[in-house]
């Protein structure tokens, strides 16, 4: 999946801008540790339109999963959430739990990395899907079961009627991820959050699951927030990508733009650390160092210690995120002045 192949660009932002589905503004998540507040994620803003696929990219510890859980309003009680998360223009932050329970599953859905572990081992997969349908749609047991088999068929599970009666341990990992997808689609949500949906799968199965997700997106017209650290996946399926580093958005741009003209050194580093058979046969770039732990997050540029282009100004004060090109936002004071084509090749 390393090589970048682009599907034909869907008409996302040239004629009529589709309505904004998810609008996240100034999101900040903090936890208390040793009597001080530590922010895991701050100043995160982005939107997802109906029918659009947005990739959320970053290394481990960059805040991707925290961001997605914040959108779902599923953070642990100990976490303090501020900012705004709007779905269809309605604020989710601070909504009563009951209302959120109703929204989750019916308007917002999520699939996870470890599909098999996301299924209850003591029930058949079919009963778990129809449970979700019955809960949100209030249909009869028989109707829910019929719909379940239909959905399993939709996610191309062969012999869906029989598979529905099997337990998670009887299915393969890819099969379990399809079941999760079927469950997520059961109530025709508007927004699907996929948290590393293919990371735990074989490369051959990855592609199938990805194309299935894309198909489902077309069929249901849903907004897709795809969390991944695989830039190949981003290049293949996303319209736009948001790059996160140490709890902040460092760059956000349409995918073509991001790959052709990265403006943040981190983005460039990520791209160069991906095998590219055309340009560099033997050289793979690496970004020295690791993401700092959350307690060490600073106000200034958090990437500076690992950045080959660091200037004294980088660590002097807060760096705002700025729009440097249409739809292209970067959080770097040297954005636009750097030639990043050879960044991080030691």
């Amino acid at each position: 999946m390393g090589h970048i192949t682009r599907a034909p660009e869907p008409a996302a932002h040239d004629d009529v801008t589709p309505p904004v589905l998810l609008d996240v503004r100034g999101l900040r998540v903090e936890v208390t540790q040793a009597e001080s507040l530590i922010s895991l994620v701050d100043d995160v803003s982005f939107t997802v339109a109906a029918g659009e696929t947005v990739g959320l990219v970053g290394e481990s510890g960059s805040g991707k999963t925290v961001t997605s859980l914040a959108v779902m309003q599923l953070l642990p009680r100990a976490a303090v959430l501020s900012g705004s998360v709007r779905l269809h223009g309605q604020e989710l932050v601070g909504r009563p739990r009951r209302e959120l329970d109703r929204l989750r599953g019916s308007q917002l859905s999520m699939i996870f990395q470890e599909a098999r572990r996301s299924l209850n081992p003591v029930f058949t997969v079919g009963s778990q899907i129809s449970e979700s349908i019955r809960r949100h749609k209030g249909v009869s047991r028989t109707d829910a079961w019929a719909r379940t088999v239909e959905l399993l068929d939709l996610v191309r599970i062969p012999d869906a009627g029989r598979r529905a009666q099997q337990y998670p341990h009887e299915l393969s990992g890819g099969m379990c991820q399809r079941v999760m997808l079927a469950m997520a689609l059961a109530c025709e949500p508007d927004l699907l959050i996929a948290d590393e949906p293919t990371t735990a799968l074989d490369v051959t199965v990855q592609r199938e699951v990805l194309s299935l997700i894309k198909e489902a997106q077309l069929e249901f017209g849903l907004g897709l927030l795809l969390i991944t650290h695989d830039l190949g996946v981003v290049a293949e399926v996303c319209d736009r990508a948001i790059v996160m580093y140490a709890g902040r958005v460092v760059e956000s741009a349409p995918v073509m733009d991001l790959f052709d003209r990265p403006q943040h050194p981190y983005t460039a580093g990520l791209e160069h650390s991906m095998p590219d058979p055309v340009r560099h046969a033997s050289k793979l770039g690496t970004i020295p160092g690791t993401v700092p732990p959350a307690p060490d997050f600073t106000d200034s540029c958090r990437f500076a210690p690992r950045c080959p282009y660091e200037l004294p100004e980088c660590t002097m004060g807060p760096i705002p995120i700025e729009t440097t090109a249409p739809l292209h936002d970067v959080r770097c004071i040297r954005a636009g002045t750097l030639d990043l084509s050879e960044a991080f090749y030691a």
Binding site: E114, N120, G126, S127, E131, W145, V149, R162, Q165
Partner: protein, 284 residues
């Protein structure tokens, strides 16, 4: 899109069930337990003699054709009394189990689901309960409420709460950390649904093992208290009470103590065997 032939949710024997049925000792224990239960239940509709009818002419006799298991100190038929006592033991252990389960599992679920201060408070209370000396506590409760089977079983039920609390709490915490609980949340499941649909079914296996074990503890507890005269009150028969009657007659006749002791030992052994093979079948 083709809809495959109508299929229904699967209702079958789980793997654990299959494993249990393949275990001869477990099945034998279950059958034996069934026989003991039937033996006791039969006393509700029929006993050879009135279990409380005294007949001083037939005082203290060994087995005979008229009295298969002999008679006791006041000439009561031991077989009839044993049947009644078996029912008493069944009823008593069920009562204690219900108290222990409602208390232990219910509170354990609360603690394991909510964690935080709720968990801390409940765990501390549980630790206090565990630190009480069991027999003294039982005697204390009976002292406060008066000696009766019901009060004895309340005491034993309360004493059994901690083991269920601990087991439920820790297994609940384990399940709550599973991805499928998070997945359920993301699909809009509320607290009740998560506990009922995801937590409880996944903690049932270790609980069944514990129930079978706790039942034997409850039976021994009831027998001990009845032996001391703090449980079942005469003339109602109980295993502990009958053992005591036999104990007092030991110098006169060695037989009377045997039937209640044997059935007590056999039942406890059966329950232990059963909990062993339940544990094996459940894989923990």
């Amino acid at each position: 899109m083709t809809i495959p032939h109508a299929s229904r949710p699967r209702r079958g024997r789980s793997r654990a069930m299959n494993r249990f049925w393949a275990d001869r000792a477990g099945v034998a224990a279950l059958v034996l337990l069934g026989v003991v239960l039937l033996f006791g239940a039969l006393s509700l509709v029929w006993t050879p003699y009135d279990p409380t009818a005294q007949s001083l002419a037939d005082r203290v006799s060994s087995p005979s054709s008229a009295h298969w298991l002999g008679t006791d100190n006041t000439g009561r038929d031991i077989l009839s009394r044993l049947m009644q006592a078996t029912w008493t033991a069944t009823y008593a252990s069920l009562l204690a189990l219900v108290i222990a389960l409602v208390g232990g599992v219910g509170v354990g679920l609360l603690a394991g689901y909510f964690r935080g201060p709720v968990d801390r408070l409940l765990s501390q209370l549980n630790d206090v309960l565990m630190s009480l000396p069991p027999l003294l506590f039982a005697v204390g409760i009976i002292g406060a409420l008066g000696p009766s089977l019901r009060n004895a079983m309340i005491a034993i039920g309360v004493l059994l709460i901690p083991r269920f609390f601990r087991l439920t709490r820790i297994t609940t915490i384990e399940v709550m950390n599973e991805d499928f609980v998070e997945a359920a949340r993301s699909a809009g499941a509320g607290a009740g649904r998560i506990v009922g649909r995801h937590v409880v079914p996944n903690i049932l296996a270790p609980l069944t093992t514990q129930v079978s074990f706790a039942a034997s503890v409850a039976i021994v507890g009831e027998a001990s208290l009845s032996f001391l005269g703090l449980g079942v009150q005469p003339p109602t028969a109980s295993w502990g009470g009958m053992t005591k009657d036999g104990f007092e007659l030991l110098s006169e006749n060695g037989w009377v103590i045997i039937p209640p002791s044997v059935i007590l030992v056999v039942t406890i052994l059966t329950l232990s065997l059963l909990s062993d093979s339940l544990r094996d079948a459940n894989g923990r």
